[in-house]
Subunit: 138 residues, 4 copies
Amino acid sequence: MEISQQTINQLGDNSLYTALGIQIEKAADGKASARLKPASEVCWPFVGQPHGGILFTLMDTTMAWAVLSQLGSGHNCTTISLNIHYTQPAKGNVFFCSAWVTHRTARSSFLRADIHDEEGRLLAMGQATFRIIPADFL
Amino acid sequence: MEISQQTINQLGDNSLYTALGIQIEKAADGKASARLKPASEVCWPFVGQPHGGILFTLMDTTMAWAVLSQLGSGHNCTTISLNIHYTQPAKGNVFFCSAWVTHRTARSSFLRADIHDEEGRLLAMGQATFRIIPADFL
Amino acid sequence: MEISQQTINQLGDNSLYTALGIQIEKAADGKASARLKPASEVCWPFVGQPHGGILFTLMDTTMAWAVLSQLGSGHNCTTISLNIHYTQPAKGNVFFCSAWVTHRTARSSFLRADIHDEEGRLLAMGQATFRIIPADFL
Amino acid sequence: MEISQQTINQLGDNSLYTALGIQIEKAADGKASARLKPASEVCWPFVGQPHGGILFTLMDTTMAWAVLSQLGSGHNCTTISLNIHYTQPAKGNVFFCSAWVTHRTARSSFLRADIHDEEGRLLAMGQATFRIIPADFL
């Protein structure tokens, strides 16, 4: 299943993504991608570097869209646990996150995700468990 | 060592904390506490609930202050890995994070942290490794 | 609820615990404790130090008993995710693990655990999510 | 760099691997693979299924070999943190682990690893940070 560009645009235009600088690009078949052009407000304490929590939010968000791309209407998801490792300082103007479901059961999805910079350097890697819940995500 | 209220106020008045609603309360002897009064912008997709990434940022930040409270001048820290488990939905107007160093070596600090709501319910638990780096944090 | 010493003795006398050197001590009200007197076979590659995977097994096992102590008959549990940080080398003849449930829902338990040596030094810290499943553990 | 089959055979013939049923297959250029034919002793509490701690030990071990394959003589490594998610019950007679370094600095290696069964089903996924230490591993 692929989440339509219209839905992505509609849901992606929200206060959280705008405040941080997150943009969802694609979500289909258990995979999702997003980019972060960090708002200057969230680049602290290192100038020009988004806070690690903002990178985490990018990752958590991209993972959620990957989960959603496998769910029908009437279902939503919530993070149970997420483990993130920061491999290098996040320098640059734009950051890219890819997330993919590695296994799915009736009530849970397991995922991995990577964050790269423009030169393709790995900045963060994560893995997580999400719970699937009965709720609308629209 | 205790980080003075003046330093906390000075450093705590930054664009990131303001944008999200984070306020550091105390940092001394390897322990730190902070609170989150989430800006409405970051309460998405569930109205009135800060995004999990914002809770993570609160936790990561509070942990960093706990590390800093054991460092002398000329040292700063950076997150290597952080594992977070979300135990319950984060409902309420204010959230409290406590972080404490569990072990420290010359170059690393290990920590745990909890996030509670106003009723004392555990909303998230985390543990992490931080690296100590030669840099000023002031 | 407290798991009786008879049950602990009966279940604790199994091939896995014997092979590794694990002994359950107590399991009650969401808390459990165990000790490891590592068999020499599992002290590798560092002589006299149990492999990190053996410490993990001690931790995972102790957590499971903490979960079980809150379940009625007809229920068992299985590890979903466990995050472990090794803070110091594990030297000594006996190691102690304490595990405690931090939150419980109908289908999941969240836990933390510590491993200490005889001098009370923290050697490893962990946190985990377990799923509660309909099955007998006896 | 590739670790020679001779070294793998020599080091792989140790009491820990024998007790659990671990066999290293290959370690080169930051990647390693191993298999587990679990000893019946470590298949507990579920008959025919290795304990989750044994799968963890397989993963941790395979990761270590992946790290070692990038180190020169006089260096060894030790696990700092490892996060494991169990996606499905581990049924079967033999299990396969692949581990790969995702990033390396002077003193640390970051890794991921997967465990599959004979049918290629994902049973566990992990990610970790290892510290590189000055010590011989031979």
